[in-house]
């Protein structure tokens, strides 16, 4: 078995090619060996001893390195063995040429390297059905031992093909065994063993919305559920190229994730984010990957289970949250601005209020001054007129006296206008003080009627009073009530050519109000003019001013005064029939 190849040069091989016992010996040797190199050596030895070969070499193809390697030799030099080691990519090499065919090739007849000129016969080992790969060559010299060599090559070829097939089967068996172990490990590690064992469990994994992948430690995918398949296998789409690119990209990202797990992760679990792409939609699919290592009994990592969780929604939520935050910040900023603006405006308002107060003060001061300036000359006019009328400078003749009376009445009218304007200004400026006191309304009415008695007489009117239902004590500003009712009375007298003026006092206990109505049978006020009469400087008709005189401020002042008393003035009137002005005030002072 361990015979040195070059020293066992056969001598009597030429006589024994047809040795009937020779062939079974080789077959027996080959039959009981499971090692390719051992078989090759036995074959070479047999050729030297029984096949008549002076020199023989067996070379097998090493699939991994892609080269021809000698495994056994007899009677050949070291140089010839060395030159046998060649890469299979050289098609012109006689050995490569021989390897590709099925028939023996005489190297001496071809342009072989010098070392092979010695009439070597290259016999390719036959292809087997099970192992359709080139296997190697059996080289013999001299060429006349070809029949034995061909038979030996046939035997060795079959044996090696068989050995390789067995090896391949053993490899597959080993892989299957490994996967079994892995799954068992997963089962042991998994809290719910049903998941992976039976078809039902498999369905459960598949029905899980999140993609689940099981990989080996190199990142090779061993198992995945349907959602994972959708990510890591290309769907049948029109845009297949893009989908495949997405799948490749997903694979790359996932492999990178797994290798990171082994590079950096010392724990059993590893968490990370993977920017995947959905191959069906080609939309970005950011996922959170949670990977768990499955350890074997010996502490080796046998598999990695990775669950991918779609982060699109979470990212969208985060984005929305950011937007919301930004919007909220914007809103906050706006509120801040608005608040600042409010503060600014408030300050402005305060300043304006102050300015207005100052302006109002100035206006009051101006009115006081104006009033003074008007009153001083009026004082002289009225004084001198009065003196002349009294005959201080001698008696006046009737025409002079009449004209002086007109000067007097106009001067008095002017004075009343000045007083009215001053009144309005004082009310507007809030400078009209209110003096509440308790008084009897009927007494006040009597007092008023006494005051206007001369006017009544002059106008030849009748006066009536109805005080029966108003005999109550009133708390109000007597002076102002008197001023209002006096104005209403003088108006009534002024605008009533004939007929009567009636004053009625009523108490409305339910509403806590007292009313003083002044009813006349005068010219009346048209409905469309009934609001106007309370406006400043307004009478129902401008021509009325000319006919009846007055600045048209009386009712405007009355309305303001009534408001000061927390009361009101009501008007009922029919054109040509007369008017009723009614002052209504609270019985017990101002309502708070």
């Amino acid at each position: 078995m361990a015979a040195a190849v070059p020293t066992q040069a056969p001598r009597s091989g030429a006589e024994s090619p047809r040795d009937a016992a020779a062939r079974p010996a080789l077959v027996e040797l080959l039959l009981f060996s499971d090692d390719a190199a051992e078989c090759a050596r036995a074959t070479v030895d047999w050729l030297a001893e029984r096949g008549g070969a002076r020199k023989s070499i067996c070379a097998l193809i090493d699939a991994e390195s892609g080269t021809l390697k000698h495994v056994a030799a007899a009677g050949v030099s070291e140089g010839q063995i060395e030159s046998l080691h060649l890469a299979l990519e050289a098609p012109d090499h006689p050995l490569v040429f021989a390897l590709a065919g099925r028939e023996p090739v005489s190297l001496g007849k071809r342009r072989a390297p010098d070392s092979w000129r010695n009439d070597f016969l290259a016999i390719p080992l036959p292809l087997s059905e099970a192992w359709e790969a080139r296997q190697g060559l059996l080289l013999v010299s001299p060429a006349r031992c070809e029949p034995e060599a061909r038979w030996a090559a046939e035997m060795l070829g079959q044996k090696i093909a068989h050995l390789r097939a067995s090896a391949a089967t053993a490899g597959s068996a080993h892989k299957v065994q490994r996967e079994r172990e892995l799954l068992l490990n997963i089962l042991n590690a998994s809290p719910d063993p049903i998941l992976l064992t039976d078809p039902e469990g498999r369905m459960i994994i598949d029905s899980a919305a999140d993609p689940i992948l099981v990989t080996d430690s190199s990142g090779k995918i061993l198992l995945m559920n349907s959602p994972a398949e959708r990510l890591f296998t290309a769907p049948d789409l029109d845009e297949r190229a893009e989908a495949e690119r997405a799948v490749r990209s997903n694979d790359a990202h996932f492999s990178s994730f797994i290798s990171n797990l082994f590079l950096t992760g010392s724990g059993l679990r590893w968490r990370g984010e993977i920017p995947l792409t959905n191959p069906s939609t080609l939309q970005p699919l950011p996922v959170e990957a949670v990977a768990g290592k499955v350890m074997s009994e010996h502490g080796e990592v046998t598999a990695v289970v990775t669950i991918l969780h779609d982060r699109t929604e979470a990212i969208e939520k985060a984005r929305l949250y950011e937007q919301l935050k930004a919007a909220s910040e914007q809103l906050e900023e706006k509120v801040r601005e608005a608040t600042a603006e409010l503060v600014r405006r408030n300050e402005l308002l305060q300043r304006q209020h102050l300015e207005l107060e100052q302006a109002s003060q100035l206006k009051s001061q101006f009115l006081a001054n104006m009033s003074h300036e008007f009153r001083t000359p009026l004082n002289a006019i009225l004084g001198y007129t009065s003196m002349l009328l009294q005959g201080v400078s001698g008696d006046l003749a009737a025409p002079q006296k009449n004209k002086m009376l007109r000067v007097d009445s106009n001067a008095r009218h002017l004075l009343s206008i000045i007083k009215d304007i001053l009144d309005i200004s004082r009310i507007e400026a809030g400078k009209m003080p209110l003096h509440l006191e308790e008084f009897e309304m009927p007494a006040l009415v009597a007092e008023l009627l006494a005051e206007v008695e001369p006017l009544i007489q002059k106008a030849r009117l009748q006066t009536l009073t109805d005080l029966r239902r108003g005999n109550a004590l009133v708390v109000s500003d007597r002076q102002k009530v008197k001023q209002i009712v006096l104005d209403l009375l003088t108006n009534a007298i002024k605008f009533t050519p004939h007929g009567q003026v009636k004053v009625m006092v009523r108490e409305d206990q339910r509403r806590g109000e007292v009313s003083i109505a002044v009813e006349d049978t005068g010219i009346g006020i048209a409905p469309q003019d009934q609001d106007k009469v309370f406006e400043d400087f307004r009478q129902a008709d401008n021509s009325v001013t000319r006919e009846y005189g007055g600045a048209g401020l009386g009712l405007a002042i009355c309305r303001r005064l009534a408001k000061m008393l927390d009361g009101r003035i009501e008007l009922q009137s029919r054109l040509g029939r007369g008017s009723t002005f009614t002052l209504v005030i609270p019985r017990k002072g101002k309502r708070q």
Binding site: S371, H372, L378, N379, G383, M387, Q390, L422, R426, K431
Partner: protein
Amino acid sequence: MSINAKSTRRPIVLVVDDFADNREMYSEYLSFAGYDVIEARNGLEAIDAARQRLPDIIIMDLSLPVMDGWEATRRLKADERTRRIPVVALTGHALAGHSKVAQEAGCDSFLAKPCLPDQLVAEIRRMLESGKAVVTTTKGAS
């Protein structure tokens, strides 16, 4: 002084007003109504005239140049010689508060302009009637 002498003597009225037309109008009417009238155009003149002539009553306009009526009244009321002379404030300032300030300055009564001459005479009569004893005593003392 006898009762007769008192009744026949014309009371002296000091009219203080810077506006000549008013001052002279009142002056003429008061003379017509039987008073001796002296005139002053401002507060300072009023004080001088009051000290010299010791009038029975002073008609004091309040808005005056040089020295206003309030200040003049305060000084007159602070002076032993003149403090018993009644002062009637007469002003075109009709705003509330003026009469109060006038009272605080020592004015004995308050009339608002326009004030007709006969109204003024009525007020003078009323004041002199109510203060007759005082005025008489003062006169008698001097």
